[in-house]
C-alpha cells in the first residue's frame, strides 16, 4: 500500500495495550510504519519467547512492558516506564480485551467480574494513568493527543448469549463519549473516540469460535466463519490491518475535529 511508510506519525509516542496479537499488534506495526515510537503491553512475560521474537522483528522504535490492564499498579508502572523512556505520549490504544459467552443464568459472578475488569476497568485505568502525560504532549500537534478505545459492534447491538461482552463493550462506548466531552470542555488537548470492529480475523475470534464449536453451536469453526461472512454485506471478515488503518486515522491530524465519535468497521453488519 502506497500510504504505508509516509511517516505521518513522526515524533509521536504511542502506547498499545494487548499489543502482541490481533488488532493490537496490527496497530503497533502501523504506528511504527508511520514513524511513531511505540510501547506495547500484554500479559506475556518480558522474557517469553513470543515477546522476544516479536520485539526483535518490530525493531528499536518499539518496546514492551508486561502488564495486566485490570491492575492499577501495572498501569502506574507502564505510564512511569513510558514517561522515563520517552517523556511523552500522544496516542493511547486501549485494545486489550477478552470475551465471554453463555446463557446469562449460567454466568458466574466471577467470570462476569473478570471480563468487566479487563474490558472496562482496563480502559478506565489506562485512560486515568495516561491522561496527565497525554494532556501535556497534546500541545505538540494539531488535534492534540488521541485516545482510541476498542469497543465492538457488540457495544452497539446485542447478541444471543453475549450479554456480558455486550455490557462491557457498551460501557467502553459511553465511557469514551464521557471523557471526550470532559477533555473538550476543559480544553485539554486530548481527543477520544471508540472503534467498533465487526468480526475480525484474530486469534481471539478463532479461540472464541472454537469454544462455540466445543459448546455444540456448530460442527466446525469454518461453519461459523461462513455464517458470519454470509451475514456481512461486504462478504468477508475484516483484517487486523484494517482496524489499524482506522486507529491510525484517529491518531493522526486528519481526524483533528473528531472526538466522542464512533467508528464502526463492520462491513455493513449493523447497517442492515
Amino acid at each position: 500500500m502506497t500510504e504505508l511508510g509516509s511517516k505521518r506519525l513522526q515524533g509521536r509516542v504511542a502506547f498499545v495495550s494487548g499489543g502482541l496479537r490481533g488488532i493490537g499488534l496490527a496497530c503497533v506495526e502501523r504506528f511504527l510504519a508511520e514513524g511513531a515510537e511505540v510501547v506495547l503491553s500484554d500479559l506475556d512475560a518480558a522474557d517469553s519467547a513470543v515477546v522476544g521474537e516479536t520485539m526483535a522483528r518490530l525493531g528499536q522504535a518499539a518496546s514492551y512492558v508486561s502488564a495486566n490492564v485490570a491492575k492499577e499498579e501495572d498501569w502506574e508502572r507502564a505510564a512511569a516506564l513510558v514517561k522515563e523512556r520517552h517523556g511523552k505520549c500522544h496516542i493511547l490504544v486501549n485494545n486489550a480485551g477478552t470475551d465471554l459467552t453463555g446463557a446469562v443464568e449460567t454466568l458466574s459472578l466471577e467470570s462476569w467480574r473478570r471480563i468487566m475488569s479487563i474490558n472496562v476497568d482496563g480502559v478506565f485505568l489506562g485512560t486515568k494513568h495516561f491522561v496527565p502525560m497525554m494532556a501535556e504532549s497534546g500541545k505538540d500537534f494539531r488535534g492534540g493527543s488521541s485516545i482510541i478505545n476498542v469497543s465492538s459492534i457488540m457495544g452497539l447491538v446485542g447478541m444471543n448469549e453475549v450479554s456480558a461482552y455486550n455490557a462491557s463493550k457498551g460501557a467502553v462506548r459511553l465511557f469514551t463519549k464521557g471523557i471526550a466531552i470532559e477533555f473538550a470542555q476543559k480544553q485539554t488537548p486530548i481527543r477520544a473516540n471508540s472503534l467498533h470492529p465487526g468480526f475480525v480475523e484474530t486469534p481471539l475470534l478463532k479461540a472464541g469460535f472454537q469454544r462455540w464449536v466445543d459448546a455444540g453451536f456448530a460442527e466446525k469453526s469454518e461453519d461459523l466463519v461462513a455464517s458470519v461472512v454470509g451475514a456481512t454485506p461486504i462478504g468477508r471478515l475484516a483484517q487486523p490491518s484494517e482496524l489499524a488503518a482506522a486507529a491510525f486515522f484517529l491518531a493522526s491530524e486528519d481526524s483533528s475535529y473528531m472526538t466522542g465519535a464512533e467508528l464502526v468497521i463492520d462491513g455493513g453488519w449493523t447497517a442492515q
Binding site: 456481512t232 484494517e242 482506522a246 475535529y257 473528531m258 442492515q272
Partner: protein, 260 residues
C-alpha cells in the same frame, strides 16, 4: 503528503466552494483525478487552475443530465472510484409551522433526491470499472440528522433521510457482490463561507461567532480541511471494511446533550 488515491478517479458534487472545494483539493493532493460539479463558474475555474481538477456544470437534482455526466467522467478519466455526495442547501427552510412548500420541495430535491441520484449514478458508473464494481461513496449528511434543528425542518429531515439511504445502498451493494462501499459523514458546525456570511450578516458578528463556536464541547467550529481528511480516508482502500456507517465529526457535539 502520502498519495493514497493515485490512479483513482473521484467526483465531488457541490465542489465549487466550502466543504466540497476542500475535498476537491485534498483528493487531488492524494493523487486522484478529480471532477467536481456545481453552478458557480468563477470559483470553479480558480479551483481547476489551482488543483488540476475538472469542473462540470451540473445540478444534482437534474436526473436527466446524470447519465451524460457519468459518461463524460469515464470517457475523460477512464473510470470512477470515489464519489462525495456533498451538494446541499438550506435556503428557504423554516420550522414545521413556517416552512413553505416551495422551500421544502427545493431542499428535498437537492439534499435528498439529489443525493439519491448521485449514489444511483455513482454505482452505475462504478460498475463499469474494468475489474468489476468497485468504489467508495461518501454522503455528506450533518449532525442535524440525529439532532434536528427546530427552525430547519427540511434540512434536518433530508440529512436524516440520506443516512438511511447510505445504509440501504450499502446493504444493496453488498448483497449484489459489488465492492462498493457507501457511508455517511455527519459534520458539526463547519466554518464554511456560508456560515461566515451568516455570522457577518448579524448585528453582532462576534456574538454570532461565539454562538457557533460554543455549540461544540471543543469550543470551536471545524475547519474545512478537517472534514476532507475523513473524506480522503473513506475514499481510500484503507477504509475497505467500512460500509453503511454513520460517522460523526463534530467535536463531541452529539456525544452528549446539546448546549450542556
Amino acid at each position: 503528503m502520502a498519495k493514497r488515491l493515485e490512479g483513482k478517479v473521484a467526483l465531488v458534487t457541490g465542489g465549487t466552494t466550502g466543504i466540497g472545494a476542500a475535498a476537491v483539493r485534498r483528493l487531488a493532493e492524494e493523487g486522484a483525478t478529480v471532477f467536481f460539479t456545481g453552478s458557480k463558474e468563477e470559483p470553479a475555474a480558480a479551483l481547476c487552475a489551482e488543483t488540476g481538477a475538472h469542473f462540470r456544470k451540473h445540478r444534482v437534482q437534474d436526473a436527466a443530465a446524470w447519465p451524460a455526466l457519468i459518461d463524460d467522467i469515464i470517457a475523460t478519466g477512464g473510470r470512477l472510484d470515489a464519489v462525495f455526495a456533498n451538494a446541499g442547501i438550506e435556503a428557504g427552510d423554516g420550522s414545521i409551522e413556517t416552512v413553505e412548500i416551495e422551500g421544502w420541495d427545493n431542499i428535498i430535491a437537492v439534499n435528498q433526491t439529489g443525493v439519491m441520484l448521485t449514489v444511483q449514478n455513482a454505482i452505475l458508473g462504478m460498475k463499469r470499472n474494468p475489474e468489476g464494481a468497485t468504489g467508495s461513496i461518501i454522503i455528506n449528511s450533518s449532525m442535524n440528522a440525529t439532532r434536528p434543528l427546530g427552525n430547519y425542518v427540511a434540512y434536518s429531515v433530508s440529512k436524516a433521510a440520506v443516512c438511511a439511504l447510505a445504509k440501504s445502498a450499502a446493504v444493496h451493494c453488498g448483497g449484489q457482490g459489488y465492492k462498493i462501499r457507501v457511508n455517511a459523514i455527519l459534520p458539526g458546525v463547519v466554518e464554511t463561507p456560508l456560515i461566515q456570511n451568516i455570522m457577518n450578516a448579524q448585528p453582532d458578528p462576534a456574538a454570532a461567532r461565539a454562538m457557533y463556536e460554543g455549540m461544540a464541547p471543543l469550543k470551536r467550529m471545524a475547519q474545512l480541511n478537517e472534514i476532507s481528511g475523513l473524506v480522503a480516508y473513506l475514499a481510500s482502500d484503507e477504509a475497505g471494511f467500512i460500509s453503511g456507517a454513520e460517522i460523526a465529526i463534530d467535536g463531541a457535539t452529539t456525544a452528549g446533550m446539546m448546549g450542556v
